[in-house]
Symmetry: C2
Subunit: 242 residues, 2 copies
């Protein structure tokens, strides 16, 4: 195993509907002092700017809680849990993509006042579009992960996870691999896309305005066709917690 | 934000009950070609070697499924879910620590044949012991995370998470922080210990025998007293999924 580097891409600035994210990422990464982009890099891009570039913004009256809640329910196929607390109503929903998260991923922070950002319609496709753009415009072959910040059952605090992937494994299947004692591994499927997304968040933060980062040095075997929808989403019938 | 490095510590070798992990880590990290250990590093150590060093090994007849199951139930305070499949019975349990995970964290892989490894009794304390050992024997002040590989609800694949911390924040509380537009952030509590543990797994892998890694370059503000038990474990009464 060799070392990895986590490199923030600074200077992308405000993203607007219709912007070509791949070009913005290339320009920022290749500006003076930037990390560049190399073949074999994994580029992690946060959902917020992907949604903005794709025009997934909806006008909302942020003083009307009902307006927000209607949006959340519009984006959901199922309300998994609901809790009313002094901080307001929390809805844990299942989105059309199959993600289980707070408020269907509808987000008001780091969005222009009066607007809410919805999740991309097809997050794997969003990742492929960025990967193809980086290849076409920048002549680099990379993996791309679109990340978002989700809570989880049983543990406090949020972490960044992968909601879309292109060109980098979502889940690495180690079934049949032997451990150091020659015994078949019990732990067989590692969601490296979530580990990569969380790692990238460590150099992005929530209040910095940094919306993309590079993981450099990953195992070349990890760079393959992939899909969060196919590899990570657990179907309701296979899920013990829905 | 500056860049981070993920550096595997190779050459620790087989760990036996009574071994001083801090010394093994120091010797391996400071050997020729090793990454060394610097003030401000975060050292991530996998649960398996911590359990071995602490003698948390139990003789087991691995051909008797009942033997394994008895151990799992002994380590549990509650069976959260149970599923019988062609691959055997899966128990999702709550451990005495409050972790919700498969089989109470009882593990047979990467353990000598005829033994199972149990989780450390107090994982934060295990992390503190390593941190104090590195300070006393190596004169370095670092954060330490003990990591384990857990599944989760709703998403396939496993990821490494923090089960114990010392000297590095488990959850970073951003409440009151403003976003780039000057709005108060909605995402307020980030479990950086889990993101650090998952990041470190990217340079360790499951079949390599690498049991420790360094995250170098973390924000010095993250290096503070901490506890997974106090900051990450969600109490059953606050949990919508138990």
């Amino acid at each position: 195993m060799t070392s990895l580097q986590l490199l923030p891409i600074t200077g992308i600035g405000e993203v607007k509907p219709g912007d070509i994210l791949a070009q913005l990422i290339l320009d920022a990464a290749r500006s003076d002092g930037g990390p560049g982009i190399l073949d074999g890099d994994v580029v992690v891009v946060t959902q917020k700017v992907v949604s903005k570039a794709e025009g997934r913004l909806v006008a909302i009256d942020p003083t009307l809680e009902a307006d927000h809640k209607r949006l959340v329910l519009d984006e959901a196929v199922r309300v998994v849990r609901r809790r009313v607390s002094p901080r307001g109503e929390l809805l844990i929903t299942e989105t059309r993509h199959g993600f289980v998260c707070a408020n269907s991923g509808v987000d008001l922070s780091n969005v222009e006042h009066g607007y809410a950002a919805l999740l991309p319609l097809d997050c794997d496709r969003s990742a492929r579009r960025i990967r193809d753009g980086l290849r076409g415009r920048g002549s680099v072959t990379v993996g791309v992960i679109v990340s978002d910040t989700f809570g989880r059952a049983w543990r406090k605090g949020l972490t960044d996870v992968a909601i879309g992937t292109a060109g980098v494994a979502a889940v690495n299947d180690l079934r049949g691999t032997k451990d150091a004692q020659g015994r078949v591994l019990e732990v067989t499927e590692v969601c490296i896309a979530d580990e990569l997304a969380g790692a990238a968040d460590l150099v992005m933060g929530k209040a910095t305005g940094i919306c993309a980062a590079i993981v450099r040095g990953v195992n070349p075997d990890w760079l393959r066709e992939s899909s969060v929808a196919a590899e990570v989403i657990r179907l309701p019938m296979d899920d013990l917690f829905r």
